[in-house]
């Protein structure tokens, strides 16, 4: 018996393959290294502030957590409001482009949406402060006069419109393009067979979207919303420019004292900060890092759970 006759079957390794696979591994590692570097920096710089006597911090809060609490709340609250406004609109636009609009209109609209995504946030900030805030002020006055009994519109109205609702509207305008662009791509990938099957069974277009398009795209929609939420959570310029902040935890949408966001607060106070104040600001950055991490993980869990039913695999 000759045992050496048949060598095991192996594909010949080409150099290009090896180079390519190595470079993808390097790219994958690089992003982890960058993430780790940021985390190490944040933690190392935060420790002095976490250990310091809170009376040394700006505004002499009772503890670091009393300082960061309203900021963390404001960050999540503003981003949540923005997502609440942006999500239905984005899904609507995406469905219109993918399933309702004539092809030429859809294409044009797609370009416009992408263009909106390219506008820098400082421009949105200027628009918010110069155009939107003065415009919505009378409307806020009307809301407070007529719906003042509702907790969200309680108290006295802001005289300048620089409230968290205005910020949320600007943020919503900023994240609409992201959510729309992603959802549109997902909706366009719905298998035509599914759609035609639904229509053949006598479904209306609405029912077809409910039965075929949305279930197929659910995981993708959640991902798109989370990307939008991520941008809203970290948005700095708009908040710094438009919001009238105060160190409070308040759900009121139309008042003068609004909880600031972590990113906005850093932008406002970093230029004049020194010593332990800088550490305190970086420590709030660490909290923001943790918040985004938690929210993204939750989103990932949702996406994974839904994936099985999506038909994408």
């Amino acid at each position: 018996m000759t045992t050496t006759a048949t060598p095991p079957l192996r594909a010949k390794v080409r150099r290009a393959d090896r180079v390519f696979s190595t470079s993808t591994v390097v790219a994958g590692i690089l992003i982890l290294v960058a993430l780790a570097a940021v985390a190490v920096f944040l933690i190392a710089q935060s420790i002095p502030a976490l250990l310091a006597d809170p009376s040394e911090l700006k505004g002499s809060p009772s503890s670091f957590w009393a300082y960061v609490g309203p900021l963390a709340f404001g960050t999540v609250w503003a981003a949540f409001l923005a997502l609440l406004i942006a999500f239905p609109i984005s899904i609507g636009i995406a469905l219109f482009i993918s399933h309702y609009a004539p092809r030429r209109v859809a294409q044009g609209l797609g370009y416009v949406i992408d263009l909106l995504a390219a506008v820098p946030s400082v421009v949105f900030g200027l628009w918010g402060i110069k155009v939107l805030a003065p415009m919505v002020t009378p409307f806020y006055g009307w809301l407070v006069d007529n719906f003042g009994w509702f907790p969200l519109f309680a108290g006295s109205v802001s005289g300048t419109g620089k409230t968290i609702l205005t910020v949320a509207i600007v943020l919503a305008v900023m994240i609409i393009p992201i959510i729309t662009a992603l959802s549109r791509e997902i909706f366009l990938q719905t298998p035509v067979l599914h759609e035609e099957a639904a229509l053949a069974l006598g479904a209306t277009r609405l029912e077809m979207i409910q039965m075929a398009v949305l279930p197929f795209g659910r995981a993708g929609i959640v991902s798109a919303a989370m990307l939008g939420l991520g941008r809203a959570l970290g948005e700095t310029m708009v908040v710094a420019m438009v919001l009238s902040p105060a160190p409070v935890i308040s759900f009121v949408l139309t008042g003068s004292a609004n909880p600031s966001t972590i990113a906005g607060n850093i932008a406002l106070n970093f230029p004049e900060a020194h010593g332990i104040e800088i550490n305190a600001l970086i420590a709030t950055g660490l909290i923001l890092f943790a918040i985004t991490l938690v929210i993204n993980s939750v989103a990932r869990v949702i996406v994974n759970r839904r994936k099985a039913f999506s038909g994408a695999n």
Partner: protein, 363 residues
């Protein structure tokens, strides 16, 4: 842009030298151009208050034109950072919204200076802060400190409040609610404004002077331009901002003694003369205990920023350079340039004399 500016400067310089020399030739005397022939050279690094930033830009441009071999850089990183950098030896001079206090001066250890050298602190940048408001048809209002404090603390909430009306007889005040706008960022303007409220209205304003707005009441806006914008765009709004930015907005005349005083450069400069120097400091340390409730006609809502240097530098050439630059900043020309470029109030003659004596100590 750069090139054309340098070009025009060069053209002016050439024209001036031709003129000067021809004049001199006409007069038949020996040409004396010690002005254009500056022998100064070297570089200076400064940093600190962003409020002084605009004035520094003007001063540096003018000084470098007069002394082409000198290179000065000023980093408007903020007062706290400026003091820290100076203390650590990272800069030759600092600009700061407040002088080094007793404790810091006693601790010493100014690494920029020669060992045991005292520091020189000069209040060379005085900028009036205007209390601005937006009420249709009203250009000025007379208010005392208690009323201003009440408005900003949120206890006076309507423009036709008797506290305001009593001081402004004959002015048609609307029943509009008041929106008081303050800075949302940490700033020297806020620190000086709250210091004024704390000193002049201690019963209504029970908070300490702070660069961050200490209470929840009122609206907040980013930066001087943000406050001016919010006041301009809103109705029934009131705020405080660098006086040079007040524009067409209504401004408040502040009660001083028994007289309502609008802001003016002279009145702002007068507050420094009306205030005592901090006691027990070195000869060159002109730190001022700002008295916001003066007896004389001086506008009390001002931001005073100091320029800080050493009496003795390790390197005497560096000392010479700092001395020349400080001399220029304190000079009437320098102060006038800052008034034009940054809207500050030129210092008074009395302060100029004291500052000159202090600058003489630098070496």
């Amino acid at each position: 842009m750069r090139f054309t500016r340098f070009g025009s400067v060069a053209a002016v310089a050439i024209a001036a030298s031709v003129l000067l020399s021809s004049c001199a030739a006409n007069e038949g005397g020996t040409p004396t151009d010690d002005e254009s022939a500056s022998t100064l050279s070297g570089s200076l690094v400064g940093g600190g208050s962003s409020a002084v930033g605009a004035a520094q830009e003007t001063w540096i441009a003018e000084f470098q034109t007069a002394n082409p071999d000198v290179d000065i850089a000023y980093d408007p990183a903020g007062s706290g950072a400026g003091r820290e950098t100076f203390l650590a030896g990272g800069s030759d001079f600092a600009g700061t919204d407040r002088a080094f206090d007793d404790e810091e001066v006693a601790a010493g250890g100014f690494a920029s200076c020669a060992p045991d050298s005292p520091i020189v602190q000069l209040p060379l940048y005085i900028s009036p802060i205007a209390v601005i408001f937006n009420l249709e048809g009203i250009d000025t209002l007379d208010l005392d400190a208690e009323t201003i404090a009440g408005i900003f603390a949120g206890t006076i909430t309507s423009w036709d409040d008797p506290a305001i009306a009593d001081q402004n007889e004959g002015v048609e005040l609307p029943a509009t609610p008041i929106t008081a706008v303050h800075r949302s960022d940490d700033s020297g303007t806020t620190e000086n404004f709250t210091d004024y409220l704390a000193q002049a209205a201690p019963t209504t304003w029970t908070y300490e002077a702070d660069g961050v707005w200490p209470i929840e009441a009122g609206e907040a806006a980013q930066g001087t331009s943000g406050v001016v914008d919010a006041v301009t765009n809103g109705t029934g709004t009131i705020g405080y901002a660098d006086a040079s930015r007040a524009g067409d907005l209504g401004t408040v005349s502040v009660l001083v003694g028994d007289e309502y005083l609008p802001f003016s450069p002279e009145a702002a400069a007068a507050i420094v003369d009306a205030s005592p120097f901090v006691e027990g400091r070195a000869e060159g340390d002109l730190s001022i205990e700002l008295d916001r409730t003066p007896d004389e006609a001086a506008y009390p809502v001002v931001l005073v920023a100091y320029l800080v240097g050493c009496e003795t530098y390790e390197d005497s050439a560096q000392g010479e350079l700092v001395k020349e630059y400080f001399t220029y900043m304190a000079s009437p020309e320098g102060q006038e340039a800052a008034a034009e470029g940054a809207g500050s109030a030129p210092i008074s003659d009395a302060l100029f004399e004291k500052a000159s004596a202090a600058i003489e100590l630098i070496k």
